[in-house]
Amino acid sequence: VQADGTDGNCVTFVLHDEDHTLGNSLRYMVMKNPDVEFCGYCITHPSESKINFRIQTRGALPAVEPFRKGLNDLMGVCQHVLNTFEVRLFLKSAGT
């Protein structure tokens, strides 16, 4: 992970060894944050596996905060999906 930008509000994170799998889902979670003015990601070159992930926030919020919140929210989503899926499987196998 590297970060550089003009001030704390607009930061471009460079995530190594990542691609659309994490990039798109993380972009979705960060966009759902009302403090974020702009969020996008791009793959710099298809031969290298790294993505540029840019977050710009409204106001004075440092851009690392939506990034961290997005990651935590995505973990929460995955955890809930996993729990629901396993409960469903258990119920189905217990029912038959």
């Binding site: 799998t21 889902s25 990651l71 973990m75 929460g76 809930h80 999906v81 396993e86 469903r88 499987l89």
Partner: protein
Amino acid sequence: AAAAMAAQRGTEEMRDRVVLGEFGVRNVHTTDFPGNYPGYEDAWDQRRFEEAFRVDVIREEEGSLEFDMVGIDAAIANAFRRILLAEVPTMAVEKVFVYNNTSIVQDEILAHRLGLIPIRADPRLFEYRNQGDEEGTEIDTLQFQLKIKCSRNPQAAKESSDPNELYFNHKVYSKHMTWVPLGNQTDLFPDADFRPVHDDILIALLRPGQEIDVLMHCVKGIGKDHAKFSPVATASYRLLPDITLLQPIEDEAAEMLQKCFSPGVIEIQNIKGKKVARVANARLDTFSREVFRHEGLKNLVRLARVRNHYIFSVESTGILPPDVLVSEAIKILMGKCQRFLNELDSVPME
């Protein structure tokens, strides 16, 4: 008031349906981000998500699983699909040490074929091999041996031309691969039976005097590295179809409409002597868009898909059951997030 209602229906449609028009698809991208629609609460709320989210397991057979995920977005559903295809690890043959190969199958072709054979070994019991480690230790390598020689059958009839009668061992199957335990693997896995998933995969054909004697090392890898490591035959999803009839359709038009869709989607009911069409089960449709080829019908039907209802279909190659694969994929996505969270916390940002 009518215009306001229509406008509201329009935004509802834009928010949660992907509409298939005659020449293109509309409303493809998710637009429900905070600030886009006045009056809608779009900011992320874990509780609202949990209330709206559900999973339904439709069909579970031994090699394949069909389940629905409702209430999730395309980005995350696609992430699960990509991880199932490329990032769930499995064990597969990586290095083939050829001691003797006098068959007509070249060494590298034989090695390629051996690599693609799915091996029934739970990858969670093994570690990844360290980079640059050529030897392989017992915690990251499984060793298999394939040693077979073809010989002539002296009891065969004189005029027979059937190779099954004439020769012994002329077809090399995956069942001829035997596990050779390394180090303390017999103690670590006392009742484990490591072998290829299918016994009847034909590897090579031999004739008398030809033999194959190879030693194989299996390592743990992911599909991104080489497709032989992919644990699924395929993993795909589609969105739930949503067919709406904009006007009542009767008689011959109803018959024609029923033929335009897959069987079971449209049913014809007899109401007061007239035949009226009704959408019975939109889920079965494969959306061939045959309706748009008929001038009379194309404006009476709206073909759409429900944006957040995903019908997943996962077929496993047999290494791990498909429900385990889905759980592993979700855990891998969590692992990726955790990795970046840890990095964020450990490296101070300037």
